[in-house]
């Protein structure tokens, strides 16, 4: 197909109207570890699979769910290092907003600015798109909110969503209960409620919840 001749350059459209590099970035995301989020009436929950390359890795050093502000958290599917860069930029933008207005940044504004950063990297020379999709969970004056941001810079608000490997299964999985193999050691769960404080559950707490579910 003519498309492959245009896959070298990010900033050139292919004849079919696609930016092939962004398609490849989405493929990178699709082969990343599964992550998902659910918006409830009074809060948002995000979670991700934490599969480490070997049992020798110290799992406490790996943090896939991060805080952007006291009331906004984020999880990703795709390339970890790209995620770290985005978290850093987003935190700075949130702080700049706070310095100007002394108000915590609304979730939509932070998502919009993060998406703008990701879009910049699809229209500049000498850079590549970010190889991550983000799930941003927050609680502000407009209530609980869940947004997905893609490498292209487009963002969507979800009631519940999943990204990464086995997305279709994961979306079905969202309606089912967890089965035995999952434990506090190989999943991470982040939660924010009406107290507007985002926090990550400890493995012990995850195990407690799993025991209840069974």
């Amino acid at each position: 197909m003519g498309d492959s001749q245009y896959s070298f350059s990010l900033t050139t459209f292919s004849p079919s109207g696609k930016l092939v590099q962004i398609e490849h970035a989405l493929t990178a995301v699709g082969s990343g570890q599964t992550s998902l989020g659910i918006k409830a009436a009074n809060g948002v929950v995000i979670a991700t699979e934490k599969k480490l390359p070997s049992i020798l890795v110290d799992e406490t050093s790996v943090q896939k769910i991060q805080c952007l502000t006291p009331n906004i958290g984020v999880v990703y599917s795709g390339m970890g290092p790209d995620f770290r860069v985005l978290v850093r930029k987003s935190r700075k933008q949130a702080e700049q907003y706070h310095r100007l207005y002394k108000e915590p940044i609304p979730v939509t504004q932070l998502v919009r600015e993060t998406a703008a950063v990701m879009q910049e990297f699809t229209q500049s020379g000498g850079v590549r798109p970010f190889g991550v999709s983000l799930l941003v969970a927050g609680y502000d004056d407009n209530g609980p909110q869940l947004y997905q941001v893609d490498p292209s810079g487009s963002y969507f608000s979800w009631k519940a969503s999943a990204m990464g490997k086995n997305v279709s299964n994961a979306k079905t999985f969202l309606e089912k209960r967890f089965e035995g193999q999952i434990s506090g050691k190989n999943i991470e769960i982040g939660i924010i409620g009406t107290d507007k404080k985002f926090r990550v559950l400890t493995p012990a707490e995850i195990d407690d919840y799993l025991a209840e579910v069974e």
């Binding site: 310095r99 100007l100 207005y101 002394k102 108000e103 609304p106 939509t108 504004q109 919009r112």
Partner: protein
């Protein structure tokens, strides 16, 4: 003569019961000469937020245009009006940006915040905020205004009484200041309406 006294101005804002009043004089001068007797020192940012700027008139106009610009962008992005406290922080940040070449203005901000609670504040020309529960003053007549407000102010005044108090305080203070006067401009703002009134005082 100080640059802050070049044009002459008098501004006062006062808190009442679920309402506030903001008032200014109407003189625009070039040192001793009077140029205009209908100069607007108080501007509306949105229906529940007013900004008064004393000091050098050119800086007051430019600063107002910049702030209105920022507020309009904020409204478009966030689909809501700015709260008075937020606006005050924005003004403070903007003024401090020019720390070593400042705007020669002293702003007075008055607005109704969440649950219709009145908010007033003033700041110096480089953004040092001064929040007050009762009244704030600015301009060449500020010393007289402090005295007049301190003696005439009462807590929880209704809009009509607040208007009388602010008017008396303003007119008596500008009479003692040669650089401000030529009448007054008073806005009384309640959750439901904004009343704008012109005062006739000593026309000198």
């Amino acid at each position: 003569m100080s640059i802050f006294e070049y044009n002459g101005s008098a501004l006062v804002a006062m808190v009442g019961k679920n309402c506030f009043a903001i008032a200014s004089d109407r003189r625009l001068g070039v040192q001793l000469q009077t140029i205009a007797t209908d100069f607007q020192r108080i501007s509306k940012i949105h229906d529940r937020l007013f900004l008064g700027l004393s000091g050098l008139a050119t800086d007051a106009q430019t600063l107002y245009q910049r702030l209105l610009f920022r507020h309009k962008l904020y409204q478009l992005r966030e689909e809501r009006d700015m709260k008075p406290e937020t606006f005050a922080n924005l003004v403070s940040a903007l003024l401090y940006e020019k720390r070593f070449g400042p705007y020669f203005c002293q702003p007075v901000i008055a607005g109704l915040g969440d649950e219709d609670k009145p908010f007033i504040c003033t700041m110096d020309s480089i953004g040092a905020k001064e929040l007050a529960k009762d009244f704030v003053v600015a301009g060449t007549a500020s010393e007289s205004l402090y005295g007049a407000c301190e003696s005439m102010f009462k807590e929880d005044m209704e809009p009509e009484e607040l208007f009388e108090t602010v008017s008396q305080a303003l007119l008596s203070s500008v009479d003692r200041d040669c650089l401000s006067g030529w009448g007054g401009h008073v806005y009384v703002v309640t959750p439901t309406e904004v009343k704008e009134r012109i005062l006739k005082g000593r026309m000198d």
